[in-house]
């Protein structure tokens, strides 16, 4: 069976999704400080890799990478509330792009599976 990534349109869909998603997290004062950076291009590339992974596309992320990548953020106070806010923006982004409720549900389940690694628990 093809992945959600393929069903929603592969790389071009991720490219369209990433700006919507990034704009949402950067515009959300609860979490924007985790995403503030001088190198916005690089931040966008990271988020595209994240979106690709949760959609089941070709990604090189492992649980260990997730854990280590977010450790400094956890030390800066990253918690459940922040995770939920990001997950909410992910869901809205997919919905705005017209992804079906069934596929959104699948993506959100993958994202939920990363919760423990992201929050370093």
């Amino acid at each position: 069976m093809s992945s959600v990534y393929e069903q929603i349109g592969g790389e071009p869909a991720m490219a369209a999704a990433v700006e919507l998603f990034y704009r949402k997290v950067l515009g959300d004062e609860r979490i924007s400080h985790f995403f503030e950076t001088v190198d916005m291009e690089r931040q966008a590339a990271k988020q595209k890799a994240f979106l690709t992974m949760v959609c089941g596309g070709p990604a090189n992320y492992s649980g260990k990478d997730m854990r280590e990548g977010h450790r400094p953020l956890v030390q800066r106070g990253l918690n459940e509330t922040h995770f939920n806010a990001v997950a909410g923006h992910l869901k809205e982004t997919l919905e705005e792009l017209g992804v079906s409720a069934e596929l959104v549900g699948k993506v959100m389940a993958v994202a939920e599976g990363a919760r423990a690694d992201v929050l370093n628990r």
């Binding site: 700006e19 704009r23 950067l26 515009g27 916005m40």
Partner: protein, 331 residues
Amino acid sequence: MAKVKHEAAWYPLESGETVLDGLLRQGVSVPHACRAGACQSCLMRAVEGSVPAAAQVGLKDTLQARNYFLACACRLPDGAALEVAGAGELRIPARIVALESLSPDVLSVRLETESPLSYRAGQYITVVRGDGLARSYSLASLPRESTLELHVRIIPGGAMSEWLARDARPGERVEVQGPAGDCFYVPGQPEAPLLLAGTGTGLAPLYGIVRDALEAGHTGPIHLFHGAREPGGLYLVERLRQWATWHPNLHYGPTVLTGGGGDVREGTLEALVLARVPKRPTGWRAYLCGNAEGVLSLRKKLFLAGFSLKDIHADAFLPSTPPAGRVAGAA
């Protein structure tokens, strides 16, 4: 411990030290300015040994392929040995042909290169003085012009700018290296609205980009904002006003924090720029130059306002930074 070979001598690097810091610390002269991987003044070439990818970020493919790297961004793993050479072969001899005051603290410097420099209006170059002192400046000129024009802000205590303002005379020899930067007009969508915003000498690249766009037949609206603290910090005001009367699609917006009046608006550049952006800025392109903090803040606001990242060309001007450990201002 890693080590670097330069002109037949080996220099040990302290743990975590950059190639630039290590060489400077041990008395080797290497041109440098921003020390943040942006200005490319400290370009060097690896003759033997491998360079970490982080030291080649932002370099043109052609430079990467020839093993050029940024010494200020080059940290070697323990035990590594690298043989390096300067970037002299990339520099073009030039001479100063004109120095003209544009305002009490901005100097127009015109240079003539010995061989033509291929560049796009809005890019920047590094000027290297005979003694190796290097600074990066944006180009205000167009490639078709016979000289390169730079707008140099005269900084009290600034080694290069005070020399240019006080001591340099037409005929003086320097070298130029570059160009670099991707803040330039891309032809192809002549009807796209353009938003150009700069503070201080951030006007220099915009001055080139505006003319480049007009000469390329750009028909879409061009909004040029120039910000300064007070009216004395604005320059080329009359010329830009005149262009705006000649080109109905060019809108010139001089802005100051205090002392505005007439067509000089008062307020922050950011607020005035954002007030001009429509609710859905589809197809708009932005060019932001000048003070780093202002450029980065405005880029974020424009992205949030709906600009696509690929349509925002930002050139944050970084101050020159003395080597680590030295007191600021001593360089």
